[in-house]
Subunit: 266 residues, 2 copies
């Protein structure tokens, strides 16, 4: 099972009981992500790994084995891989063990596990749909009202370092919420790629998430006529027409936006 990485552009977080936790905002799925199949023990690209979000979920499903994960992006850098691994693993267990759970039953469990372990608030919902996904309320995937924009875009990424989602989610979220809700309103008034970047960058700056290195990367892209903003939540940048990012410090990669977050393994 393959589940796309998801990148959040801006968000308004809510933490409550799991089904009422989540985030309002916009994220998108790309053609890179995680490939998962069932195995005796859990490995990531061949190495043993312990992931709390995954363990909680597998336990909930009554599955005692592990999963073999292949990922071509790093964990902890804002690509929603924690959610992708959880969702893909639960879909695999569901299929191979004939649980006959629906997609949203599975997604809600993956989301619950993300919320309890503070690894993500909206990635699983974005991954269930695909494309540019607007989450209009903060909740579990099954209860989340979404809309989508099917824009065909290639994105450039610069990964400078990690940010711990859990640390930001432990902080005072009220201010971020207020800024995020306002950003969604501004985006929906004029939903276009240009405005998405404009609003996303404003969100990043107003929340104070971007440090000098990130701001310099964004400005480098803009000075070449491209669009860029900060990956939520990773120390990195996503961009359109951002090939200049290759020349900066960090890991550069590019990926196309895909309209479907879940696909069969190749």
């Amino acid at each position: 099972m393959f589940v796309s990485a998801s990148v959040t552009c801006f968000f308004a977080p809510v933490i409550d009981i799991p089904k009422n936790s989540g985030s309002i905002g916009v994220g998108f799925t790309i053609d890179r992500g995680v490939e998962v199949k069932l195995a005796g023990r859990t490995t990531l690209n061949g190495k043993r790994i312990k992931l709390q979000t995954l363990e909680y979920l597998l336990n909930k499903l009554g599955y005692e084995g592990g999963v073999e994960i292949r990922a071509d992006l790093p964990l902890g850098c804002g690509f929603g891989l924690s959610g992708a691994i959880a969702l893909a693993s639960a879909l695999e267990v569901n299929e191979k063990h004939n649980l006959n759970l629906s997609l949203f039953q599975i997604a809600d469990l993956a989301h619950e596990s993300e919320v309890l372990n503070r690894t993500g608030l909206g990635d699983v919902t974005t991954q269930c749909h695909g494309g540019f996904v607007v989450r209009k309320n903060a909740s579990a995937p099954s209860m989340c009202r979404v809309d989508r924009f099917l824009w065909d875009v290639e994105m450039d990424f610069l990964i400078i370092g990690e940010l711990k989602t859990s640390e930001i989610l432990e902080g005072n979220l009220k201010n971020i919420y207020k800024i995020g809700v306002n950003c969604l309103k501004m985006f929906l008034k004029n939903p276009s790629i240009d405005n998405l970047f404009k609003v996303s960058k404003e969100f990043t700056l107003e929340c104070g998430f971007a440090d000098d290195e990130v701001i310099e990367a964004i400005e480098a892209v803009e000075s070449c006529g491209g669009l860029a903003s900060m990956i939520m939540l990773g120390k990195g940048v996503f961009a359109v027409n951002g090939s200049i990012l290759r020349e900066l410090k960090g890991y550069y990669t590019k990926s196309r936006v895909v309209w479907c977050g879940i696909r069969k393994s190749l």
Copy 2:
């Protein structure tokens, strides 16, 4: 733009104003469908064609040209091609003319056009999601609560002839509605491929849609250990392990269920 054909297994129709019209039920998307691009005049596989559902929609979008449609399945046989053509065409107009409408804004217009022209009630919703799509209320796509089952299945099809959706939708729908709602309950009690076929066949027989030829085709598949039911609404059959259908009168084809109803052109 490519939009999948969608096959309805059973349904409970509601006709009201367009946004409150639709159907409860289950349908699935397959890897065949329609490929659409903008053109001066409207053609289907190279031949001029006039499609009311499409014309109404293009007019609503303020687009005065036509579309070039490629389809590898016949119209009027229960593959939801009317909805697929409408959705794909509107997505193309949206993209090429920078309308920046969301997927559900576009889908609601396509659905409105389907309802007013009595060409379909649930296909557009199914196509917006993908896989086996459960529609839990009868409404426009943006307001429709759905769930999905991502089963990886190859389906056999036998197309015996056409059925006019519009004629059935002109009839007394109350009885069909009652049977359809009951079928959804029975399916959701035990959501599996086996039970989907069981419930779908019961629906077909209770509604009296299947004639002798269709019943014989279903029984031929069952006698070989396969599963089959009638395509809603076409004079034809969908089946799992139904290669025996090759030997019967009609057009035989097979196609895989896909989990995403909309994709970029190849």
